[in-house]
């Protein structure tokens, strides 16, 4: 009986299944360049904050911008549904675990107020920083011109899975090649996880791609839909698309690894997998400046028919500045992320993010064993 090969299954890897291999030369951390560019905008550090209501409001966006990063404000969340969202944020923070999804479903049923969109954007611009804001594809055509007019510098079009083509009988989908011509600001689109969908998005002329479906702390997409690609593999596949597209077109479209980053180690791995920047949710939700009062939830959690996500309680861990630059007495890798990235690049012999992309990666068990000590910092500081 002759048999056809039905399907070939490829192995995909998450950050906790891989580890970085040190280089043949080492570099002093203070000599590394970690800047990041979207279109013509340059950022001091390659770290974005997720457009989640427990993470980003105008105050947080200003604080992160001043430290060199970029926060994305969700234009379809609590900040544009409520003139004063503080009471609702308290209610979410205080909800009992078995009631929280219902409460989220209720508070997110409040309509979006168009006037608040401009207000929130202006509040960020008043902070003196670059303003990025997100919309779902469904609302992009209608709301993005308003947002651009209010001063938005970067548009993020985001849904769980966004592709260059969407099929619908009832309406005409968003055409990214038209959007980028009409809007006066760069457009970042996501999320995607495969080589071909990433490359097709790049070919529409957009300016950045968010990579990641499924790894989020506050998300249960893999349980509910079965869909998701572990983040190390997703990042590498989209990095391959970026490099091939660059070779073919001469245009370099950065990719932002969005999801699955729990600590500095994961962040460093994302860059070694080919990311130009990373987007953080749960780590930033742990900072004092985040609006979530130590809580974190996904934007699909409030869905009325098929909620996919949970509210996660995170501890408030310190200030945003400590999270990014230290100093710290926390040893689990959730503080001084920039110090960790520079040190990791030093150990891997990478002078900049593009050299970090060349770092060798091994598949390694996630469980730790014992017996060794380290003199890393001294060694690197003055080797």
């Amino acid at each position: 009986m002759e048999r056809t090969q039905y399907k070939i299954l490829r192995h995909a890897y998450g950050f906790d299944e891989i580890a970085l291999v040190p280089g043949d030369i080492t570099i002093n951390p203070d000599q590394t360049d970690i800047s990041f560019v979207i279109d013509r905008l340059v950022f001091g550090i390659p770290i974005l904050a997720s457009a989640m209501d427990g993470v980003v409001d105008a105050r947080f966006a200003a604080a992160l911008g001043k430290l060199g990063g970029l926060a994305v404000l969700n234009l379809e969340g609590l900040q544009t549904r409520y003139a004063d969202p503080e009471g609702v944020l308290d209610e979410i923070a205080n909800a009992a675990p078995d009631r929280v999804t219902q409460i989220l479903q209720r508070v997110y049923s409040e309509p979006i107020k168009e006037n608040l969109i401009g207000d929130r954007i202006r509040a960020i611009k008043d902070g003196g920083v670059v303003c990025a804001a997100s919309l779902t594809p469904a609302n992009t055509k209608r709301i993005s011109p308003l947002a651009a007019e209010a001063g938005m510098d970067i548009l993020v079009v985001q849904s769980t899975v966004t592709t260059a083509r969407h099929m619908s009988k009832s309406y005409r989908g968003l055409i990214f090649s038209e959007l980028v011509k009409q809007l006066p600001v760069p457009v970042v689109v996501g999320n995607c996880v495969t080589y071909s969908s990433c490359r097709k998005l790049m070919e529409t002329g957009i300016h950045g791609v968010l990579v990641g479906v499924g790894p989020g702390a506050a998300c249960t997409t893999r349980e509910v839909l079965g869909v998701g690609v572990p983040q190390a593999t997703a990042t590498m596949d989209c990095a391959a698309a970026r490099d091939d597209y660059f070779r073919a077109s001469g245009r370099y479209v950065p990719i932002i690894s969005d999801g699955g980053i729990r600590n500095g180690g994961d962040l460093c791995k994302a860059f070694a997998c080919g990311a130009d920047a990373v987007m953080l949710g749960s780590i930033f939700a742990q900072s004092k400046e985040a609006p979530g009062r130590g809580n974190h939830w996904g934007m699909a959690t409030p869905h009325e028919a098929l909620p996919r996500g949970t509210r996660i309680r995170v501890n408030i861990n310190g200030s945003l500045e400590q999270t990014l630059f230290g100093p710290t007495s926390v040893t689990n890798g959730t503080q001084n992320l920039v110090g960790a990235l520079r040190t990791s690049m030093g150990v891997c012999g990478a002078r900049n993010i593009k050299e970090m992309h060349q770092t060798e990666i091994v598949i390694a068990p996630s469980i730790k064993t014992e017996g060794k000590y380290f003199q890393l910092s001294q060694g690197l500081a003055g080797h």
Copy 2:
């Protein structure tokens, strides 16, 4: 010393070891077609209920049928051994864990009453739905004509492992090619897990195949017999047999993935692995309409000499309608299964189940990591 290769071991995968890869295009969930066909019978949703006494009685079968699915009644279970099984169901539900196997052994030693077979089938038909009922191979020749006469629309012949050929000295085994000629209704046979045994069953002329040996929640077959193939691989292998048989014969025999489905994610994966429909046990045992009072046990549990299975306590989770169609505030993937399937198909770019078979699958670690949020529903609803 020259050495012979003794045996080649192939990797087999369960649903929790794989994940689905989004497509290059996305489709609005409301445009997906999820109908399912056995012989000439068409069902609105591709979901069957297992012929287990904690899951299906006549009332449940009518309820599921009205919602578009198909329940299979066990003709060798409590429903045909007791005119009024409610007392026995109470006793099982109330049994202490260390006593339950003995109690099951006792209550299942009551003989099957032939008159009850017709009664139960007529009760289902009175509900106005298609009636499917199951027999073991040993009893099929004797009981199936009675059942057909009483109005049974589909016969399911089921044992742990059923093959096209069974060897016995003492009696002549069931010949499926004869059975399908004699019976006026379509015949579904199972269970099997390999390409060749599935294809040989299809070649007998039967009308559907149940796929799955070993993954069940209420079963300890792997511990007791060492036998079992993880369900993702089993489904893919039998799907290959179906497709090859279709190419060779022109006859399309659907396969039903039976076992190992714990939530919507697993259900979506079963279709991506090639299933035409799925059969659910423990998820349906959690519905209010199930006769098990929040308990679930396998049909080999009562075996007098070698019980293989345990009674599992499941929580009653909501109505059958909520389980299938929502709305829900449950985020673990056990409610709104149809919504989950349609959304997953939308994300994977599949307009129908046959296109869902083409979805790319990766081997992925089953442990979740963190950092990401989702705007799936909004994105898909209006992209």
Copy 3:
């Protein structure tokens, strides 16, 4: 810089990482033949009991022999060090966990009494069964003639790792080719785990090989020495040696898979991996007839300088007869082992142990999932 391949690492598998694949035909369990032959001795069931002091004494050996199996008495254990070992067995059973190794070290420092060797062998022979007894290589030359004279039917020469050649300055090692000529009884030797060491042992003329280093419940060899091969791979490799040796010499030397069998499922897998018989320790220690009072410990546990092993508390689970033949209400696979083996062979389409060697094996995750029920026994009994 050119680089040499330093070492190639092969994957090895334990029983809990594999699963058996059902066959294309099924066979009624009552038609299977599970007899086992060593030299000219035929046993009704292919199951041996380990030469461990918590498992085998003369009474246990008689009981197992009458049921068709074969127990091996340890001639260097408590039974030959103490005329009445009951008090010592009580002391071991009652010892606190943190004291037990020291107590074992003390009670095993009592010398072996040569007169007790004959007594114990005669006690087994008085039970009317075949008598197998074990010695370490160091004591074989001296004690084995006494044992043979007392009526021993099979000699087992056993140490953790036994090879055809042992290097020592101080004395001349045991030469198996001489031993088999001198002794009037068949000789079984072990343990080994590789193709080449197994084949070299067979080439000395011995009559059976024990396979297994490291998997035992009561042993910590992998922690202490780093040595051990997972049992499924070890069994397959030695089965390959047996088959190749048979093809080359015409002599069939059975292999006995010794270690790592926790339940009926593992036992069935051992045969599918190529075993002619299995040796059980911890399962038999759970029977009422075992001398260990529900305790189990290895023969390297009492070592004065480098103890490798622990006393394991096991529950007393029923009689030896129940363990082997049922009936049972236990569903975890530790009772009715013979029923499980015959049923598994039926499902795999194997009429005898040699056909069971042909069963297909898959690598499968050890964690169970849910959703399925079974009608195995009915199905097989009357298909």
Copy 4:
């Protein structure tokens, strides 16, 4: 769409994922030679103690040296920052878990006293043993001449990752080829984990290499930096470099596997992976002679901005002599390490460390199963 391969991921293995395969011949443990050579210095046992402040002080170094091993004193730790470090050691031992990192940061901010360097070295030499001491690359040029003058016999230059070339704008890095010419004592350098970085270090003329980045018990480098290679693979890769360099140059530079060794089994595996010696931290921290009072911490734990490591509480397990040579009633492999190594070599048929390098290794699951007993010691002692 043609696609470039972005990156190839190799599998890397830790000690708990591998197991050693017994040999075709066995050797009496008392015939094994386990001596170890650095440059012209010969040691009776191939075991070093890590330059950690919870493990090595002058008293410990003398004790280990007398037993045949070699302790490395950290010249940048508490012993050279405090004339009397006992009070500080008490404070660390008594610190609450949530305060310990801050306390470590404070006590390590005390400057190094040059006069204490000579004192500590002389104290070790007064013990009549070989004195090894460690420095970070940054301090090597300045302090190593003082240390050599005070009697240091071996210099260890150690940081988390040390490479033959370090890039810095502000100062000229350490040149190992110059260092080995200037210093009158052999130089051991580490740590490294790859073939090429190890070989480049050897080509500078140094006399030994420490292998291992990331596996330590007291370290969180993988969480913080993402960097680390599981220790079995790291050891094999550097062993390949050593052998290739030896073939090319005629000079044999030993490698010391440093990290990830939790018990005798891991230790034996390190040698089978190609190590010439091993360096132990946490196991030695469990001995009575260690200064840590049952505590263990890494040298990067006190780092002021990015602490990478934690204080681990270990139980005090016995004397150093018991740890190395037994006898013992401990069965978890943390005592009688030398007995374990000799026994393992006997089982693997290795007369010396170089033959142990030839041992076959399998990839094996780390979880134990059950059913087997052992008579190892008797068997080997008198086979």
